[in-house]
Amino acid sequence: MTTEAWIQALTDTRVGDRPEPETLKACCADVYASDWARMLLGDSFHPGGMQLTDRLAEMLTLRPGDRVLDLASGAGASAIHLADRFGIRPVGIDFSETTVERARAAASEAGSAAEFAVGDAEDLDFEDASFDAVICECSFCVFPDKVAVSSEIARVLRPGGRVGIGDVCRDGDLPPELETLFGWVACISDAYSAHDIAAALAGAGLRTTGEERHDDALAALISDIGGRLMTLEAGAKLGKLTLPAGMQFDEARRVRRAAADAVRRGVLGYALITARKPE
């Protein structure tokens, strides 16, 4: 599908008529591989940026030499950063081939040993008990089958291994403009509450060891997206930037405001959750 077609599909499809899981996964992967995502999200695709990535790593007590799996590693920023900062050996997987290539290029440019591969979080291509830790930033919310992902995490962790999830949390009803496929891709409509994330992990035998709220980081990210959107809209309307067809500023502004309101009302937030596989 073209970007324009995705944008149309994103805003028109209500989550009530839930699409096929494979369509969802492909759509998420494509959108996050697109330049739109980078234009609106900047260098780091999750709230709090590297500061919250560091915080998650601290909560997990990552140690030099640890083999760490990064689920939906995107352009590789977190994995490369954590390898440098904590001396871990990360492997990042992502559903999008484009994104994986981008991450590999970034690693080679940074001289990082971080490895990247195409993969599906619901069906991991790794041995049992092959990782010391798993991290998953702002992507648990977009995996269609969270039970499968949880059991895969549990399977690839060694006994005593830790998992750290940083994710958008949802407590309560959302306005209709967020209950779309776009809302899904934007980590919103299928986000769990922190309690339910912990429960999903517990269902796979992983015991919660920590939870921190960072709702302000989500508010800041949404505000920054506003700045980027405003800059793009100004550039487009002044005739200074040529944007791809299909950019609907009205819709984008409406969705962004609805998300900002939802954070303010406490319906949406951001949490770091850690759990451990028993010895």
């Binding site: 330049d35 739109w36 981008r102 505000s223 700045g227 309307k237 930037l241 502004r253």
Partner: protein, 512 residues
């Protein structure tokens, strides 16, 4: 009837409310203010009359007072819809004990975190202006350690503070001002500003070199062109040459400048348009922050019933720029209070001005603008555009299925940095900021104030409370009393112990 000083009657309660009941006045709301004489907290009526907004109040000891607080009654009432929930700081520095405005600060009753921290590094100045809210003169000169303590407290309460402004006195004459600005940058504070009269910049080459290295934004006092203006406000008729020289020198080092004119009725309201035109033309200037002259600290005779307010300046801008900027191009900024600040951003090319509100629905972006520094949205836009540029040049992008063509339509440079420079470099900003004085003080606004004076002991005091309630005088006295200790510490190299500042008020609470 009010006389020249705005005092309607002293102590005669019987006739003190006559003005409040003037024909056609609408009682809009009740708030709390101050007695301009004894500074005790008193109730105040906000009245809508003749299309403007007035504050009427009575002190049991000093009688009734009335002041003009806003020049557009309709906007004053309508702007309530721009009020947004405040964001509170990470930590507070004081407790609630006497009640607002006597517990600063910030105390847990404050409704807004600090967008801007202001550090007055000294009280001395190399000018002697008739209008000076800081009442500059002999007194104190903080040590680097004291300034660092204030910065550390700011970092503690804000987590990631965005703006620190160094002020005074005249901060540029502090021998360690360069180290102080660097200390702020080192703490990750993104925007460091220097609030200056520009004299040292005009005269001192070494100082200019230091600024070129640190690159702060310059908040540049500039009241107009007429000798009479500069005589009345600054006490020096021949100031213009020095101002222009300073601005030209700032242009050579690429320090961004915001002109800061204080506008006083009967003095320089006729220069508003010319200041805008000058700002649009001068290469160093990327914005103007108009401020109605306010009457705290040192000021001449004034008539509170003829006080300049933001809507007046907006009308003068429209009239005097032939509508290049119109009143409707400006939007209220939610913090502090929507009536405290108005702003617009404009794209300027070949003399053609396109205010963004004419092409964008600003209300949809207000949360972004509000939580950002009022002063640096163009700078932020530049940062975002540069980020975009770097995103577009990440290796691998060319292979992306949806490679994005960041073309510059105007100059035909595909994926050219030209487009980015074009937009960010041509953004111009005009903001208006009305500070309160003891005549116009409204406690409701102060509780949402986001511009705080940072003191060495970690207290943060809303700017308008600092100037109007009595904090400034008490802080000045205590900071000056420690000057011998500072001088001794400088001589001996021994550390100076930072002591807490204590504030006491004769009339805490609301006896009135």
């Amino acid at each position: 009837m009010a006389n020249e000083s705005g005092v309607i009657s002293r102590g005669a309660a019987a006739d003190s409310m006559d003005s409040a009941h003037a024909a056609g006045a609408v009682f809009h709301e009740l708030t709390r203010s101050l007695c301009p004489v004894c500074r005790r907290v008193i109730d105040a009526k906000v009245l809508l009359r003749d299309g403007a907004v007035f504050m009427h109040k009575r002190c049991p000891q000093h009688g009734a007072f009335e002041a003009r607080v806003y020049g557009d009654a309709e906007a004053y009432v309508n702007f309530a819809r721009f009020n947004r929930p405040g964001t509170v700081p990470e930590a507070f520095s004081t407790e609630v004990s006497h009640g607002c405005p006597h517990d600063c600060g910030l105390c847990p009753d404050h409704e807004q975190h600090a967008c801007v921290g202001i550090i007055e590094v000294n009280s001395a100045c190399d000018m002697d202006c008739p209008l000076c809210f800081a009442d500059a003169g002999r007194g104190y000169s903080l040590t680097l350690a004291e300034v660092e303590a204030a910065l550390d407290s700011f970092v503690r309460t804000e987590a990631a503070p965005e703006v620190v402004q160094f002020s005074g006195g005249e901060p540029s004459i502090h021998p360690q001002i360069g180290e102080m600005m660097r200390a702020a940058s080192r703490r990750g504070i993104r925007h460091v500003m220097l609030n200056t009269n520009g004299r040292r910049i005009a005269r001192d080459d070494a100082f200019l070199d230091e600024l070129a290295d640190i690159r702060p934004a310059i908040y540049f006092q500039f009241d107009g062109f007429d000798a009479d203006t500069n005589q009345k406000i600054r006490g020096e008729p021949d100031l213009l040459g020095e101002k222009i020289r300073a601005l030209d020198r700032l242009a050579t080092i690429g320090c961004p400048v915001i002109l800061v004119p204080a506008i006083e009725w009967g003095v320089n309201e006729h220069e508003v348009g010319r200041i805008v035109e000058f700002g649009l033309e001068h290469p160093a200037v990327f914005g103007i922050n108009f401020q109605p002259a306010f009457h705290a600290g040192r000021h001449g005779d004034h008539d509170p019933l003829r006080r300049v307010t933001n809507p007046d300046i907006l009308r003068w801008i429209e009239e005097q720029t032939d509508g290049r900027f119109r009143v409707s191009d400006f939007f209220p900024v939610p913090c502090c209070f929507p009536t405290c600040n108005s702003a617009t951003y404009a794209y300027v090319e070949d003399g053609e001005v396109t205010p963004l509100p004419r092409i964008l629905p600003m209300e949809d972006y207000m949360d972004y603008i509000a939580n950002r520094v009022l002063m640096d949205v163009p700078g932020e836009m530049r940062r975002l555009l540069e980020e975009l540029w770097s995103a577009a040049s990440i290796p691998g992008t060319g292979d992306a299925a949806y490679a994005f063509d960041l073309a510059c339509a105007a100059c035909g440079l595909p994926q050219g940095l030209g487009g980015i420079e074009d937009i960010a470099g041509r953004m111009f900003m005009i903001t208006l900021q009305d500070f309160m004085d003891p005549w116009t003080f409204n406690q409701k606004n102060v509780m949402k104030c986001c511009k705080e004076i940072l003191l060495p002991d970690g207290k943060q005091i809303p700017f308008c409370a600092y100037n109007s309630v009595g904090y400034r005088e008490q802080a000045r006295e205590q900071l000056a009393a420690r000057q011998p200790d500072r001088d001794r510490a400088r001589r001996t190299g021994e550390p100076l112990e930072i002591q807490p500042l204590r504030f006491e008020f004769d009339h805490p609470g609301t006896e009135a």
